[in-house]
């Protein structure tokens, strides 16, 4: 089933292949020095890219299953379709580009790398993302998100663009940034104060914020053929953690 086109590109027909076998083949391909892997007919196989630890191009056609790129360390995955739950779970480095929607907890506890989703994501997107020194995860969502966006965020950059919000232009998510104690969220499109968690503050963007947006929205636009300038024209809101210790005052001593 795995056709070797040349030393550089491997094509795998994933139809009816159990995830364990599929991932074993990916491991093999990557350890053989393959530069690019094309997966066709992917239908819900979990953990694609999980145990891969170097830069390799993976194109997925179909619908990968939960935990796409969980613990991943290096590969660049493009999904020509939708991703399910847990995409980029505890990811260390690499890139995931989803040409559609993604499910819940995208980027859960991500430690580095970048995730771009063209359309909407589910609940708790970017929950507990972290950062340290040069490692800073980035999650850019083209559409909107469900509740608890950026919950418990301890680091990283989360950008929500709301490109599909229509005329009203308002996100519907509640509890945005609940428990946030690090990192930053940039929102395009309007929200009401009550939609925010108690631990986040709202600020106007400064010059350096625009530099960040330019960089990552630029990448987003090139992945999905948008005009970055057009997106950036719109007003953005910056959300930041009010306290480093959101629950520090909860205790008697």
């Amino acid at each position: 089933m795995a056709k070797k086109v040349d030393n550089q590109v491997v094509k795998i027909d994933a139809k009816g292949v159990f995830y364990r076998e599929l991932n074993a083949r990916l491991r093999d391909a990557v350890s053989n020095g393959t530069q690019k892997i094309e997966l066709r007919n992917v239908y819900g196989q979990r953990y694609i890219g999980t145990d891969l630890d170097r830069v390799v191009e993976i194109e997925i056609f179909g619908t990968p299953g939960n935990d796409l790129g969980a613990f991943m360390d290096g590969p660049r995955i493009t999904v020509h379709g939708n991703a399910q739950d847990g995409c980029g779970n505890t990811m260390n480095s690499g890139e995931i580009i989803v040409q559609g929607h993604a499910g819940d907890i995208i980027g859960l506890s991500a430690r580095g790398g970048k995730i771009f989703v063209r359309e909407d994501v589910g609940y708790r997107a970017g929950i507990h993302m972290k950062e340290c020194r040069d490692k800073k995860p980035v999650l850019v969502i083209g559409g909107t998100a469900q509740d608890f966006l950026g919950e418990y965020m301890a680091g990283g950059i989360l950008i929500l663009l709301g490109l599909n919000l229509g005329k009203e232009g308002r996100h519907r998510a509640n509890f945005i940034g609940t428990g946030m104690h690090g990192g930053v969220i940039y929102l395009r499109g309007s929200i009401e104060g009550y939609q925010l968690g108690r631990e986040v503050g709202v600020a106007e963007l400064e010059e350096e914020d625009y530099q960040v947006l330019q960089e990552f929205i630029g990448e987003f636009a090139s992945h999905f053929s948008y005009d970055a300038e057009e997106i950036l024209k719109h007003k953005f809101t910056k959300l930041y953690p009010l306290w480093l210790r959101p629950y520090g005052r909860l205790y008697a001593y």
């Binding site: 505890t90 972290k130 909860l250 001593y253």
Partner: protein
């Protein structure tokens, strides 16, 4: 606000013996002892004392005694001093009461109501000093049946990953951040020396300890602190932490004071922020989701390591454990109501969960009834105090035990329950660089290895007395136990007969 809290301890300083050397001043981290420059005298403020005995043991002149402050509240079984003082603390602060270590309440300790058997006349006991005695334990999923090649001893069945322990006692999860790096190093070295495992807890693993990876269990908890491919790769076993006996069902807040530069690096959160562990793992809301994470970790390590799942012992542990085994856990860990912590709300620590003895026996029985006991090893923790408890736990069905509190006591801990303050005078539960030095890893590792050596010898004595020469024969062998002072229901749940029957 004036505090209505009476002092817990008083300090007696023998003026005949005190040489005014100020060792007590330097050793105390709770501002009890101080030097009064005006009077040129060392004095004490008993009201700050937590009863950790650091000064008593380090006073070169043996001049100090710490005694409980005699409290003359009128006697009241219901409104005892602790209850009164907790109310005072909350009325003065309006907060949740935090505490450290394990449940100190008088719930029945079933180990103390179970007695072990010994051989007399009808079968010979064995002297472990002169005959081989085996404590070796293999943790991991066992196949339903094995096939052996004919006319040889070659195993044909492919075994799932197994971990060999030379002594069935491992060091329980205590995170870097809660305890110091020197405690981690002491545990890692002792585990390596004794052929057992230690557990990183949920705060990641300092790179300088990677070399002990073959004796390390790394934890993946709700905060996912320090979880990266290298962390998973160096480990011998990976543990998914769902809950802990000291605080079942709730997450953890490592206070910002303990998030030092190094801890911040390992956990990947900004220095000085609280390290927040959410109550649930947000990718696990069901047994099916647990299976997803179990297999995510198996995929991430190419099926080379056993995956353990740790839960707090709660009312329906048996049913949950069955689900855990079916979710792919190779080892299940049960942490009982007496399990300890670096910080937990006191009300949770003291009131939530069930005794480990009950959880163990019900889980072991349930897995046997379902015919899946071989599919996972059982490890128990939460109040294992000595080798007698270990032997009883193994007879009740455990494959091995974890010790946390006992290990810390070996390092100097006196259970003063101030872990949550980060000011541990013994340098154990702190990340303060000056205090951390109070645990010397050379000495710490020696003390811990000594403890395990002592327990191993005792376990062999216990086995020999029963006429058993391998721990394997005691495992789940409840006929070697009898109950004392237990009700019929308790005996039934423990699966143990009354002494004399």
């Amino acid at each position: 606000m004036k505090t209505y809290l009476p002092p817990k301890f008083t300090i007696e300083r023998d003026p005949e013996r005190c040489i005014q050397c100020q060792v007590c001043v330097n050793q105390c981290t709770f501002d009890v002892h101080y030097y009064d420059a005006e009077d040129d005298e060392v004095r004490s403020r008993g009201e700050n004392c937590v009863g950790c005995h650091r000064c008593v043991l380090f006073c070169p002149a043996r001049a100090l005694t710490v005694i409980r402050n005699p409290l003359d509240y009128r006697e009241n079984y219901n409104w005892h001093p602790e209850v009164i003082e907790d109310i005072i603390k909350q009325s003065e602060t309006g907060g949740v009461l935090l505490t450290g270590m394990g449940n100190d309440k008088s719930y029945r300790i079933y180990w103390d109501h179970l007695v072990l058997n010994a051989s007399q006349v009808t079968n010979p006991s064995i002297d472990p000093l002169r005959e081989p005695m085996e404590l070796t334990t293999y943790l991991g999923r066992k196949p339903d049946r094995v096939q052996i090649e004919q006319n040889s001893t070659t195993l044909m069945t492919e075994l799932p990953p197994q971990v060999r322990l030379e002594v069935p006692v491992m060091f329980a999860a205590m995170s870097y951040g809660a305890v110091s790096i020197n405690v981690h190093e002491s545990l890692a070295r002792a585990a390596t020396e004794m052929g057992t495992l230690w557990n990183t807890g949920e705060g990641g693993l300092h790179p300088k300890l990677y070399k002990y990876g073959n004796n390390t269990i790394v934890q993946v908890a709700s905060g996912r602190f320090g979880v990266n491919p290298e962390y998973l790769d160096v480990a011998r076993v990976i543990e998914i932490k769902i809950g802990q006996g000291a605080k079942p069902g709730i997450g953890g807040h490592l206070p910002g004071e303990k998030v030092s530069a190094d801890v911040s690096m390992t956990r990947m959160i900004p220095q000085g922020t609280d390290a927040l562990s959410p109550a649930p793992q947000h990718d696990i809301y069901s047994i099916e989701d647990l299976a997803q994470l179990v297999y995510a970790l198996k995929e991430a390590t190419n099926y080379t390591k056993p995956i353990t799942v740790k839960i707090a012992a709660v009312h329906n542990s048996a049913a949950i454990a069955s689900g855990m085994v079916q979710a792919g856990a190779d080892i299940i860990v049960l942490d009982g109501i007496r399990g300890a912590t670096g910080a937990a709300p006191k009300i949770i620590r003291d009131n939530v969960g069930i005794p480990i003895e009950m959880a163990l026996s019900s889980v072991d029985s349930r897995l046997r009834q379902e015919g899946i006991r071989n599919q996972a090893s059982i490890v128990v923790s939460g109040g294992i105090r000595n080798s007698g408890d270990v032997a009883k736990a193994i007879a009740l069905g455990a494959d091995a035990v974890y010790i946390g509190t006992a290990a810390l006591v070996a390092l100097g801990c006196t259970l003063c329950q101030q872990c949550h303050t980060g000011r541990c005078a013994w340098g154990i539960c702190t990340t303060d660089p000056a205090l951390t030095k109070r645990v010397n890893p050379d000495i710490g590792a020696r003390r811990l290895a000594n403890l395990l050596r002592g327990w191993s010898l005792e376990l062999k004595d216990i086995l020999g007395g029963m006429g058993i020469n391998a721990l394997e024969s005691l495992r789940g062998n409840r006929m070697q136990l009898r109950g004392v002072g237990l009700t019929d229901t308790e005996l039934e749940i423990l699966g143990v007969r009354m002494a004399g029957s």
